[in-house]
């Protein structure tokens, strides 16, 4: 079937960097992944059977065409058919019907396939996204966004192409080869033998050239990756490049990579470009062989001219898919590799399920207790060692210490973003693993250093943790968070639409919105993870005031390295290398002149 080149596939436009699929040509377990993909096609089996039927019908009808043409040619040669509706017209009518049927079948095939393929990828995307909701924060910490995006976009797209195009092409290719071969045998075994001499040539050519081009294209892909990395790095760091007058140096570096890419790219393209003309030569050798043998046979009156005409068409239909098959197989392979990468995510271990006996944490008081907790993101690299402390209801606990000491890890364990390796974390006297995760998380209000705001209006962002909140509640929360002032100065006030991650708001304004957002959920435990670190101290002043208000009556954990944020905490824990080095109030620790004093000495 002539593939309409205009249709192609909707190009997705390469995503930035193309990270995920960079080195992914070959799947690890071809049949295993294929079988799994087949399971995904489960509900579609009825439709798929119908499609398979259409593919068969299409291929069959395509085979009938040349046969009828051959017969028609022979009828022309035969004399005496001068009647207005003779055998020729009958044959042509049959041919006409065949062609119309073929067109209809081809249309129905594509029509159905579009539905099946798109439904399957939609389901794949849905499951992928649903899966992402169940993965732990640990997963997101170890996978870059670019990589995950690329799996959702490029890999799923690859799968869709595989299902809708390559698989059909492969099927009709196989049918065309088998069918043509049978037809050729039926027409004349002698000619079949003659035309088979080109088959080893095709195999040899496809194998040699494709091995060569395969290596070259892989190399080209790697160089392209290098080039992209260099460009990304040097454009994002252009300020430093200019400040150090380093333009010529990076241009020289770029030219080296660029030159290497060009050399490999040229080789790859030249080699792959040889296939077409060589195939042409082989095809014509085949034709010459058919003509010569056919001439001899015709001379002996073993076959007719019409048979030769049909035979030429069949031998083309026989060889062309052979040549395309290698190509289709490559596409299929990269599609299966894409599916594999998607399944890889679907197979990731999820956040452990709640215990069967897990109970709801209702009206939490906010008594926090760490009992001999040890933890490492990797089992062999401990981050926290035997941490024990208590933060009773309504108290403020500050965590200080150098970067990497494990302060944020403590928060991650408390919120059960990660699970302890040993020991236990308790809230209101019970291990947090005994609560349902949902009710546990509901008792926290978290303000992070890098506040994330979603695309949407200001009101929607404030309501994020409590979508059912009324406008009055939103306004009240904003007022208590000292955010009402700047919101009222915005043109659309609470209906002002924010771009992804806050857009034009200043860091301080975003933080105030984050505080309002927490305010509305009225949590028992408040966590401020470097909440004011990226804010200058003057703006911080206003935010501190807002924080002071929400801290009232709540257990609060503060992570900070600025002295002014922590000095009034009820307890300060100095964390060093995963251990509690010191604990006490600001005055006690200053008087002790230990680790805390050393950290803040110049500021005191």
């Amino acid at each position: 079937m002539a593939q309409n080149p205009i249709l192609g596939s909707p190009r997705t436009g390469g995503t930035f960097g193309n990270r995920g699929s960079k080195d992914g040509g070959k799947p690890r377990s071809f049949t295993g992944t294929l079988r799994r993909l087949w399971e995904y096609l489960g509900h579609e089996r009825g439709q798929l059977t119908l499609i398979l039927f259409f593919v068969l019908a299409d291929a069959g009808l395509t085979l009938v065409g040349p046969y009828l043409i051959g017969l028609a040619v022979d009828t022309m040669g035969a004399a005496g058919g001068l009647k207005p509706f003779g055998p020729l017209e009958q044959l042509l009518l049959l041919l006409l019907i065949t062609y119309i049927a073929e067109g209809g079948v081809a249309f129905l095939k594509s029509w159905l396939m579009a539905g099946v393929a798109q439904r399957v990828v939609k389901e794949l995307r849905r499951r992928l996204f649903a899966k992402l909701q169940k993965l732990s924060v640990a997963f997101f910490d170890t996978h870059t966004h670019g990589e995950l995006m690329s799996r959702l976009a490029n890999d799923v797209d690859n799968v869709s192409n595989t299902i809708s195009q390559s698989s059909v092409q492969l099927m009709s290719g196989v049918i065309a080869i088998a069918g043509s071969f049978i037809m050729m045998l039926v027409l004349s075994w002698e000619l079949t033998l003659a035309s088979l001499i080109t088959v080893p040539l095709v195999f040899f050519l496809t194998k040699t050239v494709s091995r060569k081009t395969g290596l070259l294209f892989k190399d080209q892909q790697a160089r392209l990756g290098q080039l992209n990395a260099q460009v990304e790095e040097s454009i994002s760091g252009i300020q430093v490049i200019k400040a150090f007058n380093h333009e010529d140096e990076v241009i020289r570096q770029f030219k080296t990579v660029n030159q290497q890419l060009t050399e490999v790219g040229t080789q790859a393209q030249i080699w792959s470009g040889f296939i077409m003309p060589l195939m042409n030569v082989i095809n014509n050798i085949g034709f010459a062989a058919i003509a010569i043998v056919g001439g001899i046979l015709a001379a002996q009156d073993t076959i007719t001219v019409g048979v030769i005409a049909s035979f030429v068409s069949y031998s083309r239909q026989f060889v062309r898919p052979l040549n395309e098959m290698a190509n289709i197989f490559n596409v299929l392979q990269s599609g299966v590799a894409g599916a594999e990468r998607v399944f890889e995510i679907l197979d990731e271990t999820e956040e452990s399920a709640d215990k069967p006996a897990a109970r709801e944490l209702v009206r939490p008081r906010g008594d926090v207790f760490f009992d001999d907790v040890s933890f490492g993101y990797r089992a062999d690299v401990p981050i926290l060692k035997n941490i024990s402390f208590a933060a009773p209801q309504g108290s403020t606990l500050a965590l200080v210490g150098p970067t990497g000491a494990g302060k944020t890890t403590i928060v991650n364990l408390l919120t059960r973003f990660y699970e302890v390796n040993s020991g236990r974390v308790c809230i209101d006297g019970h291990d947090i693993r005994d609560y349902t995760r949902e009710s546990l998380r509901r008792c926290f209000g978290i303000v992070l250093q890098d506040t994330y705001l979603f695309a949407g209006t200001i009101a929607e962002n404030i309501k994020y943790g409590k979508p059912e909140a009324t406008q009055a509640e939103v306004v009240a929360a904003a007022a208590r968070a000292n955010a009402a002032g700047f919101i009222s100065r915005l043109p659309q006030q609470y209906d002002t639409v924010l771009a992804e991650n806050g857009g034009s708001l200043s860091q301080g304004q975003k933080q105030l919105l984050a505080i309002a957002r927490v305010m509305l959920t009225d949590p028992a435990i408040l966590i401020l993870d470097e909440a004011t670190s990226s804010i200058d101290t003057r703006t911080e002043f206003h935010i501190q005031d807002a924080l002071k208000k929400i801290m009232q009556g709540r257990t609060t954990l503060i992570i900070a390295h600025r002295l002014n944020t922590i000095r009034h905490a009820d307890t300060i824990l100095v964390i060093e290398q995963g251990r509690i080095a010191e604990q006490g109030t600001h005055e006690e620790l200053v008087n002790r002149q230990g680790a805390y004093y050393a950290l803040y000495h110049p500021a005191l």
Partner: protein, 576 residues
């Protein structure tokens, strides 16, 4: 697309050579059906083995010539397109490196990366395709028409019916297809953006338990994408079979008319087969032309985006003769009545009437709230941006007179975000002074308190950094960035809030070291913490783009209200 002109000049002749070979190739292709027809009509039908062998040989020879022509054309087109792509990338890269920050801000960094990668690839593919198939397609189309008419003018009537219908179908296909696929693209963008947003805010989503909300958002975008894809593909599904059907109807017509002709005795059977072959050839070339047109639309859009970069005007001018004097100036940095706005005249002023001068050897602290214009102020010194009005002078000369290269030679800057490049630590330090020896680099690293942790790495100074220095902590990156600036031994050192990840002790030691080695160096230090700059010779307090106080710590504490407020927030009675 003026930028394409120079490449046309460079590669024009290869292009024409390729045209010659493509023509030869097309000619050989066009001869094939006629030769086949002759073999069948004369050789096979007439049972002349000699003729078959003879013409078979001719046909193989023609094929061989065609293959050689194709191979040569392939080599030329591959080389030209790849080399053109390389040139284009290289020139674009150089252009980007020469752009001013004002231009880079306008064009957006991420989009510059896509322009240099995807867009160039798009053009490269188009050029290669052009030289390969698109030249051949019109030749085959026209040649096929001529050969077909030549073969049998009577049967050519069928072509007159079939070809316009096919062209019409192709045009319709594009007309209907384009908007539909744009819709698909938009739906896809939407799915991607929901996903991107989820990934960026995953902690917030988890903390607030808003999975349902996110899933709804995604489900909606996902459904939309499915619906638009299915619509687009189904609309298009009719055209492929439609075009094939039209062609096939043409074949039936040819056979019918031909059959009548054979009966009448004025058409040979072989001619009919040849005619059908030409018809298929014409149809394929029409389809290829439409495909080339599609590619052209895409390449054209890419060329537009590239052109936008090339057509950026160099906004910076200087006096080539202007040099910095080695001495004889009182102030190494001076701002006189400087105003600045990122958007140029008429947009909101970021700096207003800045009046500031710094002597060699002076340590100047700059403090103020976010958005008060601290970074902008120091960016005017190395001429990253130009003042809207007023004058910025370095060592007594207006920066607008100076070649930025000369200017930047005497200035070293440590940016707010430590940017390191992939390579070894040594490579990164050498940025400061290409060819500096190890002892110099080590000395600088010691001053920046970086030597100890670098030596503690198994590979020491030869430790390789990943892109952006991912394998270092924030504090380590900052210290390497400071060392890199110190290697340069600048006359003016700018530290743009680059000690935020360092504890106060380390910061103090670095500052002391800088003071000791650099008695003649003007040091401008932007800081968040008052402790970082309280011992500076001069502290500049910025508020809303204006200088609201200049003086020593004690003086400012006495009479600058903004400074008092900052002090209070850091040392005072907050939260009580």
């Amino acid at each position: 697309m003026r930028f394409l002109l120079q490449y046309r000049r460079k590669y024009g002749k290869y292009f024409w050579i390729a045209v010659v070979f493509v023509t030869l190739e097309a000619f050989c292709d066009l001869l094939q059906p006629t030769l086949m027809a002759k073999i069948i009509d004369v050789g096979v039908a007439g049972k002349q083995m000699d003729y078959i062998l003879h013409m078979g040989g001719v046909m193989l020879a023609v094929t061989a010539v065609g293959a050689v022509a194709a191979a040569v054309r392939n080599i030329i087109s591959s080389r030209v397109s790849q080399q053109l792509g390389a040139d284009l990338r290289g020139d674009l890269y150089e252009k980007i490196q020469s752009l001013s920050f004002a231009n880079i801000d306008r064009l957006d960094k991420a989009s510059l990366v896509t322009r240099i990668t995807n867009d160039v690839t798009q053009i490269q593919g188009f050029v290669n395709g052009m030289m390969r198939i698109s030249l051949k397609a019109p030749l085959l189309c026209i040649g096929g028409l001529i050969m077909a008419i030549n073969l049998n003018a009577e049967l050519a009537v069928v072509l007159a019916a079939v070809v316009p219908v096919v062209i019409l179908l192709i045009v319709f296909n594009m007309r209907i297809g384009f908007p539909l696929f744009i819709q698909v693209q938009n739906a896809l963008d939407r799915v991607n953006s929901v996903m991107r947003e989820y990934l960026a805010g995953v902690r917030v989503v988890k903390a607030f338990n808003q999975f349902g909300h996110e899933e709804d958002k995604f489900a909606q975008a996902n459904r939309q994408l499915e619906a638009s894809s299915v619509t687009a593909i189904r609309m298009m599904a009719a055209f492929g079979p439609g075009i094939t059907l039209t062609l096939n109807l043409g074949i039936v017509l040819v056979l019918w008319l031909g059959g009548i002709g054979v009966r009448d005795g004025h058409i040979q059977v072989g001619h009919i087969i040849a005619f059908i072959n030409y018809m298929i050839q014409i149809l394929f070339s029409l389809m290829i032309i439409s495909m080339v047109f599609n590619m052209f639309v895409r390449a054209h859009a890419s060329a537009g985006r590239i052109d936008e970069v090339f057509s950026q005007q160099e906004s910076m001018a200087w006096n080539p003769a202007a040099r910095l004097d080695a001495g004889g100036f009182e102030h190494s940095v001076e701002f006189q009545q400087v105003c600045f706005a990122y958007g140029g005249q008429g947009s909101e002023l970021v700096l207003k009437d800045i009046e500031l001068s710094c002597r060699p050897g002076e340590m100047v602290g700059i403090i103020g709230s976010t958005g008060s214009g601290k970074s902008t102020l120091v960016h005017l010194i190395p001429r990253f941006y130009e003042a809207l009005s007023g004058q910025v002078k370095v060592q007594g000369r207006d920066v607008r007179e100076l070649n930025p290269h000369l200017l930047r030679e005497v200035i070293a800057m440590v940016p707010q975000k430590s940017i390191l490049f992939s390579g070894t630590i040594l490579d990164n330090l050498r940025w400061g002074k290409p060819g500096a020896d190890l002892a110099d680099l080590e000395a600088a690293a010691r001053l920046a308190e970086a030597h100890d942790f670098i030596s503690a790495f198994p590979d020491g100074y030869q430790t390789r950094l990943g892109q952006g220095g991912v394998n270092l902590s924030g504090g380590q990156k900052q210290r390497i960035a400071i060392a890199r600036a110190l290697v340069k031994k600048p006359a003016i050192l700018i530290l743009d809030d680059c000690t935020s990840a360092l504890d106060a002790g380390t910061e103090g030691r670095i500052k002391k070291a800088i003071r000791e080695i650099a008695r003649e160096v003007t040091c401008l230090m932007i800081a968040q913490r008052i402790t970082s700059i309280r011992d500076a010779d001069k502290i500049v307090v910025l508020d809303n783009g204006r200088i609201v106080g200049i003086g020593r710590h004690e003086e400012l504490l006495e009479r600058c209200p903004v400074y008092q407020e900052i002090y209070q927030s850091q040392f005072g009675k907050e939260l009580s």
